[in-house]
């Protein structure tokens, strides 16, 4: 019959070799949910900044010879909308980064709950606003670009454009948000269960 002190003795016998092995590979990507969420926001923001710069570059040096000023204004608008959205994504990235992994589980849970509330509030207005503004700017741009195109071309173009936009907003966008929500709510649920275990 072993007593707890004997188990402690067994545990202490299991001490690994004095050398704890090589240092961990710090360049390896973390599998933690926090890092995944951060990465998604950072990569999205970087892509949008690149897109904005590309469109602004086309407006400045594209040699398009548009006759209407509003076509150039539309290109600038698209760039600004992309930059604004990138700014929001960087802000979200920073908010996730500020969640303190070194806090006790209960404090950690409170921070994730606060982030979740903020994110849900943001999703309500940010998604529709971005979609609407981007399409208004695109509409303005297409006024001159498609001016001389045939009715048949208009029909085909707008069918494809509208189809893609609706697919991107209602399917791809919602899918990404759903995945993000699952990750956060999963983590909050786990933390709540752990908090319950600690309170028992």
């Amino acid at each position: 019959m072993q007593e707890f002190e004997e188990l402690k003795h067994i545990w202490q016998q299991s001490t690994p070799a004095p050398q704890p092995g090589p240092l961990p590979d710090l360049s390896k990507a973390s599998a933690q949910t926090k890092t995944k969420l951060q990465r998604a926001q950072r990569n999205g923001a970087i892509s949008l900044v690149i897109t904005a710069l590309f469109i602004a570059g086309l407006a400045l040096w594209g040699d398009f010879h548009f006759k209407q000023w509003y076509t150039y204004a539309a290109m600038v608008l698209v760039s600004l909308i992309c930059l604004a959205q990138a700014g929001i994504m960087f802000y979200i990235y920073r908010s996730i980064k500020q969640i303190d992994e070194t806090a006790p589980s209960t404090a950690h849970l409170r921070q994730w709950e606060a982030y979740y509330t903020f994110r849900q509030r943001l999703i309500r207005w940010n998604g529709p606003a971005y979609f609407l503004l981007l399409n208004l700017a695109m509409g303005l741009y297409l006024l001159e670009v498609l001016e001389r195109a045939s009715a048949q071309f208009h029909l085909i173009f707008f069918s494809i454009y509208l189809g893609w936009m609706l697919f991107a907003y209602f399917y791809l966008g919602k899918k990404v948000l759903k995945k993000e929500k699952q990750r956060i709510t999963g983590m909050i649920e786990d933390l709540r269960q752990l908090e319950m275990q600690l309170k028992e």
Binding site: W11, S30, Q32, E101, P104
Partner: protein
């Protein structure tokens, strides 16, 4: 001292204890290595947040505990799945130090998640005050828990060791 030098010192000092904590938590040496890597990755990423309110040890153990608690819940291979026959086989193996150590790790990994971490820190002889701070509970609550977990673990170990 540069951040890299401080990190290397901390790793050399605390990695053996954290490895054992992770091993007790998962019951698996492979998963323990993954968790050790994740924990020290989090230590590296958060070193700028260390303000000296607690000792480096308490701070690092807190990160490891949070990493363990959140990491394993996502894994498909959960320690709860360690079947009884695995434990019986361990107990049946020739009675030597290694098999006793493995049996102890496996028994710990069958406790509820937070209990595994608490008992691992008790076995590692961390002060109760530090364990309470790491887990974010009061010292009184911790003492009650430790009493219960010690009994549960001893009973489980004895029941398999007797086979």
């Amino acid at each position: 001292m540069t951040q890299q030098e401080t990190f290397t010192c901390l790793y050399r000092q605390y990695a053996p204890g954290i490895r054992k904590l992770c091993r007790g938590y998962t019951g698996s040496a492979t998963q323990a290595e993954d968790l050790l890597q994740e924990s020290f990755l989090a230590v590296w990423n958060n070193m700028h947040l260390y303000r000296g309110d607690a000792s480096w040890g308490t701070w690092i153990y807190r990160i490891a505990v949070n990493t363990c608690l959140l990491y394993l819940r996502k894994e498909k291979t959960r320690p709860e799945k360690i079947a009884d026959d695995v434990l019986l086989n361990l107990a049946e193996e020739e009675h030597n130090q290694d098999s006793e150590v493995q049996l102890l790790y496996t028994c710990i990994s069958r406790l509820p998640e937070t209990d595994r971490l608490i008992i691992s820190m008790v076995l590692e002889e961390l002060p109760y005050e530090d364990i309470a701070s790491i887990a974010g509970i009061t010292e009184n609550n911790l003492r009650v828990k430790i009493h219960r977990i010690k009994k549960q673990l001893t009973d489980m170990f004895n029941s398999y060791a007797r086979v």
